[in-house]
């Protein structure tokens, strides 16, 4: 049967992370023929794990507003993205039309656009660049059975934490990006999840990115819209020998959104994966970025930033494992919090016994813009090999009054000086994002957040 092309009214069920809901979901998926017996087993097992595993991270500290054990799922609906809707009427990619969603970058090598979990087509061509494969994950095994079988869940460890398990149990949309050997794509591949206030969905994406030998590409994952969804996903990246991938996430979900992701990459010999993460939206965002350097010459670059305002809370963990050497990693994180915004950053570097000659750098700086804001920084280095270079440093500070006075003394109003210094603080991380258009987009988004923050100050 032609899988995944059914159009028609989607079946919506109230979402709850429990067995009856999963069984209903499985029944809906079965109608599309898109769930194998093995899938069903894995989903049931994952749900059991979700219930059994503890909340991630250390015991919630005093003052943390969000306790992962107390997450509520009221008023959320689950639907399968396997039923698609043609994009109708005013395009949702047009910023002038309702719903008001940011436009995609004009130039891209392909992409997928979701409203909730539902794939909209055909506004964005499935592959503007014919050398690149960009498919809904559920459609990928038919044309690429061997590749998908070899890579799917190969490195995404859905047993790793309770939210990966939850994402696996209720997976309802996803993307497969394949850049074959030697193919170099300049324009970004865009994967967009939009949510509108009209419907609060529970969205469980699974993204699988495979780069062949010497392939180069940029993937941009975006979360936009003014809805308050619960998004919980997994991303797995296979970078083949000498491959280079920029994987960008721009998270600008609605103010009440909760966005949980675990993104994992593995680098083959001389491959390079660059994670670029901007957490700018949502009420609660939790991200894990894991990179495994399991072959000589592998390189992991991580540039992450977040800005929490209001009561928002960001929880970021990066993990880099140097399994063999020489391998290289460089992690830079910049975070700021205003109002009662909170953040936590845990940066782990593990250098295994055989990782001789490896080089790991981790740098984390946090800026507190109000007395009630709070950011914890927890860098951790575990080194089991000699002859390696490892550096980590972390700072948490408030705005430099001398700098504020200096800028003000040049005629620049205090609020403007604050904006200038705060934007400048993020700049070393922003400059690591690929492409000036994207960098400007991040600057503009930060600028708007600073605006909102100074208005309430």
């Amino acid at each position: 049967m032609p899988s995944g092309t059914a159009a028609g009214p989607a079946t919506l069920i109230p979402f709850a992370p429990d067995a009856p809901t999963l069984e209903r979901a499985l029944a809906i998926l079965a109608q599309d023929g898109s769930v194998s017996p093995a899938d069903a087993v894995r989903r049931r097992e994952a749900l059991a794990l979700f219930a059994a595993l503890p909340a991630p991270g250390a015991r919630p500290r005093r003052g943390w507003r969000h306790d992962y054990d107390k997450l509520t799922f009221d008023d959320l609906v689950w639907t399968t993205g396997r039923r698609r809707q043609p994009a109708v009427g005013p395009s949702v990619t047009d910023p002038d039309d309702e719903p008001d969603l940011p436009a995609l970058a004009t130039e891209n090598a392909g992409g997928l656009f979701h409203l909730g979990a539902t794939l909209l087509e055909p506004d964005v061509p499935s592959a503007a660049d014919s050398r690149v494969v960009v498919l809904p994950l559920g459609d990928a095994s038919r044309p690429h059975p061997e590749l998908v079988a070899r890579t799917l869940y190969e490195i995404a460890d859905w047993r790793a934490d309770r939210f990966s398990a939850l994402a696996t149990a209720f997976e309802n949309c996803g993307a497969f990006v394949y850049v074959p050997d030697g193919v170099v794509v300049d324009a970004p591949i865009q994967l967009v999840w939009a949510n509108t206030a009209a419907r609060n969905e529970a969205v469980f994406p699974h993204v699988l990115v495979v780069l062949g030998e010497g392939a180069r590409a940029t993937v941009i994952e975006r979360h936009v819209g003014d809805g308050d969804p619960f998004i919980c996903g997994v991303v797995e990246v296979h970078a083949g020998e000498r491959a280079q991938l920029d994987y960008v996430t721009v998270q600008q979900a609605g103010e009440g959104a909760r966005v949980f992701f675990r993104r994992t990459a593995r680098c083959a010999r001389d491959a390079e994966v660059r994670w670029n993460l901007a957490e700018l939206g949502g009420a609660l965002a939790r991200t894990v970025l894991d990179t495994q350097l399991g072959a000589v010459g592998g390189r992991a670059e991580t540039a992450a930033l977040f800005f929490t305002t209001g009561f928002a809370h960001v929880d970021l963990t990066t993990g880099t494992e140097h399994v063999v050497g020489p391998t290289t990693s460089n992690t830079a994180v910049r975070s700021a919090a205003n109002d009662r915004g909170q953040g936590r950053y845990v940066g782990n570097i593990v250098i295994r016994p055989h990782a001789h000659g490896s080089d790991a750098t981790l740098r984390d700086d946090a800026l507190l813009l109000s007395a009630h804001a709070h950011i914890d920084a927890v860098p951790a280095l575990e080194i089991a090999s000699n002859d390696v270079k490892a550096f980590h440093g972390a700072t948490v500070g408030s705005l430099d009054e001398d700098a504020l006075f200096y800028v003000s003394s040049r005629g620049i109003a205090r609020s403007e000086a604050l904006r200038m210094i705060t934007l400048g603080f993020f700049e070393p991380v922003i400059t690591r994002f690929p492409g000036e258009a994207l960098r400007d987009e991040i600057r503009t988004a930060l600028d708007a957040k600073i605006d909102a923050a100074t208005e309430t100050a």
Partner: protein, 257 residues
């Protein structure tokens, strides 16, 4: 009009309850150069910061006016827009903000929208040339990782771009090698020769007469222990270099006795 000038009257300033400035009367008229000399800790930088509006200094009495406009009570940015420029002794670094952006923002803030982008660019390159600065400077972050000399050149570049009514140079010449001093001197000289800077008044805080070769002082003041102990002509600066502050101190003490 008598109100013209950068004028302090009976200015008293305390920091954490200690009186640092004990009644300062100064009048820097448009086009004039005043040198302010004095031993370390005498209150020269306090005067500079107070005029610029640093929040850490409590003015307990007196006034600071710029061409008749009272500056006390104004935020630092408003004072800058009124026409005051302070060249910092220790300029702060602004990581992530390029010199080019900073210059544009400062010019825009003080003289909103008076130059087209092309004209602004032309102005910046002219001033870079005067200061013997590499255009690559524009792409660097403000004072971030700058040498002492580079910081002072950037202060002078900002002064030249803003072209304020009055500039306070707080030890801009300290720690500079001969080349850097020359560049700083040329920047001030060429600004004074330009249309924009013809009527600029300068208050030059310094320990050395050498900067006064470029900015010949009309009036020299010596500040000791928070008061102006002596005021004289250019020869006073030379005398201080020869004889030191102690002689002045003794003279003042004798005169009071």
């Amino acid at each position: 009009m008598s109100a013209r000038g950068l004028v302090t009257r009976d200015l008293r300033v305390a920091v954490q309850g200690n009186e640092i400035l004990k009644g300062i009367d100064l009048t820097v008229e448009p086009g004039q150069v005043h040198a302010l000399m004095g031993p370390n800790g005498s209150g020269k930088s306090t005067l500079a910061f107070t005029i610029a509006g640093h929040p850490g200094y409590d003015v307990t009495s007196g006034s600071v006016t710029l061409d008749g406009e009272e500056l006390l009570g104004l935020a630092p940015d408003k004072r800058a827009r009124a026409g005051v420029f302070l060249s910092f002794q220790y300029p702060a670094a602004i990581p992530g903000v390029s010199v080019a952006n900073f210059l544009r923002s400062a010019r825009q803030a003080v003289r909103s929208g008076d130059l087209s982008p092309a004209k602004f660019r032309q102005l910046v390159f002219e001033k870079l040339d005067t200061l013997d600065m590499d255009p690559a400077f524009l792409g660097r972050y403000v004072n971030d990782g700058f040498s002492g000399g580079e910081k002072k050149r950037l202060e002078m570049l900002q002064m030249a771009i803003i072209a304020p009514k009055y500039a306070i140079l707080d030890e801009t010449d300290s720690g500079l090698d001969v080349d850097a001093l020359q560049a700083v001197g040329h920047a001030a000289t060429s600004l004074r020769e330009s249309e924009d800077g013809r009527n600029m008044g300068f208050l030059v805080i310094t320990h050395y007469p050498r900067i006064l070769r470029y900015l010949p002082a009309d009036v020299v003041h010596v500040m000791i222990d928070g008061s102006i102990a002596k005021t004289g002509g250019p020869d006073l600066a030379e005398r201080i270099e020869r004889e030191g502050y102690d002689v002045i101190r003794e003279e003042v003490a004798t005169a009071r006795a």
